[in-house]
Symmetry: C2
Subunit: 356 residues, 2 copies
Amino acid sequence: MKKTALIMAGGHGERFWPRSRKNLPKQFLSLTDDGKTLIQLTVERISVLVEKKDIYISTNKDYEDLIREQLPDIPPDNILFEPVGRNTAPCIGMAAEFVSKRYEDAIMMVLPSDHLIKYAKMYQDTLNDACSIAEQGSNLVTIGITPDFPETGYGYIKFDPDNAFERGYNVLNFTEKPKLEVAKEYIASNQYLWNSGMFVWKASSILERFEKLMPDVFEQLTIIRNAIGTSQQTDIIEKIFPEFPSISIDYGIMEKSDNIYTIPGSFGWDDVGSWLAMERIRKTNEFGNIIDGDVITINTNDSIVVGKNKLIACVGVKDLVVVDTDDATLICAKDSTNDIKKIIENLKVCNRNEYL
Amino acid sequence: MKKTALIMAGGHGERFWPRSRKNLPKQFLSLTDDGKTLIQLTVERISVLVEKKDIYISTNKDYEDLIREQLPDIPPDNILFEPVGRNTAPCIGMAAEFVSKRYEDAIMMVLPSDHLIKYAKMYQDTLNDACSIAEQGSNLVTIGITPDFPETGYGYIKFDPDNAFERGYNVLNFTEKPKLEVAKEYIASNQYLWNSGMFVWKASSILERFEKLMPDVFEQLTIIRNAIGTSQQTDIIEKIFPEFPSISIDYGIMEKSDNIYTIPGSFGWDDVGSWLAMERIRKTNEFGNIIDGDVITINTNDSIVVGKNKLIACVGVKDLVVVDTDDATLICAKDSTNDIKKIIENLKVCNRNEYL
């Protein structure tokens, strides 16, 4: 069956401030040694399974130039603009209409644009396994990540180890981000996977679920479908999209559907959730530091220092994240990266939009 | 008796890097709330005792523009240029010739340009007391600082508490920077003061000592004296000065002379020896921070953050010194400020003169 991919690239990551900004979110940043941006790596990885002409990108109008610049091989018509953010369900539903109108039916892989995968081959194998399950009936497949530790920042997928289908397992339920104690129980039970936000299904399977579980949205999606390819397409999307409820695909569809399978993935997944990810994706030097740019360190250990156009000199520091940009410099204790959002709140309150 | 002052402004302070540079040493920086530079404050303080036309500045040619800009009231002829650095003795000897040629004899107060004094009135009173002693005979007076703690970074003056003269005490000897154990003994003995590098004497008294203790230097100084005010002045100084030995006034004269008195000064002296001085000279905020410039702090304590043209955001840090400039940013643990010189060594080795 025809394979297509939808890469979700509408997010404004704030946790990579000051490097990430409203007009340059995380997916458009290069964080790895090879100089490629996260979205470029995502497209590169999936290109092994899906032709470029069948890769769709959902995003918002602000990022059109970035996407065309970073992904010149993606056909402009495949860039689907959300006029406003309405979480993942409306965006995925609309993409399913584009795919289904073009190919009648086809596999759709829904992929975040801002994650990293260490082992591309295993990732592709896992997606292939997912395709195989999704092609049958109206199965919905989600890729779960074998958890390494009781992370409290992710949602979890509970699966039934005794109810396997090919490489997948029947999903019992989805859970919100747990407290630490609960997360520990999840890990110990060997019945939970991290919810990575990667899905595989046929366009027809997910549209069928919209029709059943979100009939109002489905009705609106049909109007969009009829406009696709006509001179009205943009106008109709801009009119209808803002009327959609803001709702995630997990909450709107996955948690309420049957025939949901998860495939446990072990391909070195990293959601690159904060500057600390640099330590997982880059090599530390002999002092435990990650150094990027023009940096001099004296007696400095276990720190992440990302320079830009000026000299950064670190003396006697430990466990620090330093990120320089043209107009702002962050100095953050490693155990406080979650508080970077407080800087952004402060900037918002003070209307300092040039730094957002 | 006529009072003159010599302000020594030839030093290249490295400990305020990256704000201080070879072409902008510490004495030309503003570190206090009032926006005045250290040398401007020095001149302001001494102007109460000495007319502007009688204040001399010794420095090197590189700083001519800075001095003229920062001290427009000092007559250009009073700026004495050292063609090369030869420590304090030759420089002071030459200034004494300028003073003695102009006024036959006069009081000379020799003052560093890069210290801070909290209580100007007490400082002026102390200098007046020193003048009174210096006017008599050929007494040399040095201002000692009542020590607060066993500092190992200063030289000490041992005085005889039983041998007072007016407000001064007879000096028994000068000591080099002591080890901590020794410094503790000094403090406990109540017989030691910190050597502040401030001196008061008549020009004739110090020249008399040069003649006796450094006769070769004295002979050369006489050649300079004869050239002062002639068209040959600059040429002669440029020829002779480099031939002087590099020697401090303490070592060359003070340690070997008789009739040396010290007056204990308690006027809130601070040699502003490193960025940590900011905590003594500026008010800390409720979190123990000294903040200058465009800085946002989240859960940041006991830190010194000096911004320039860009936003500095500190998150979860403690006991840090952060100094931003147009081309370099320093991030230094408070207990490591002595290692800032290692940054400078590194820059020198790498020939990165633009940062020096």
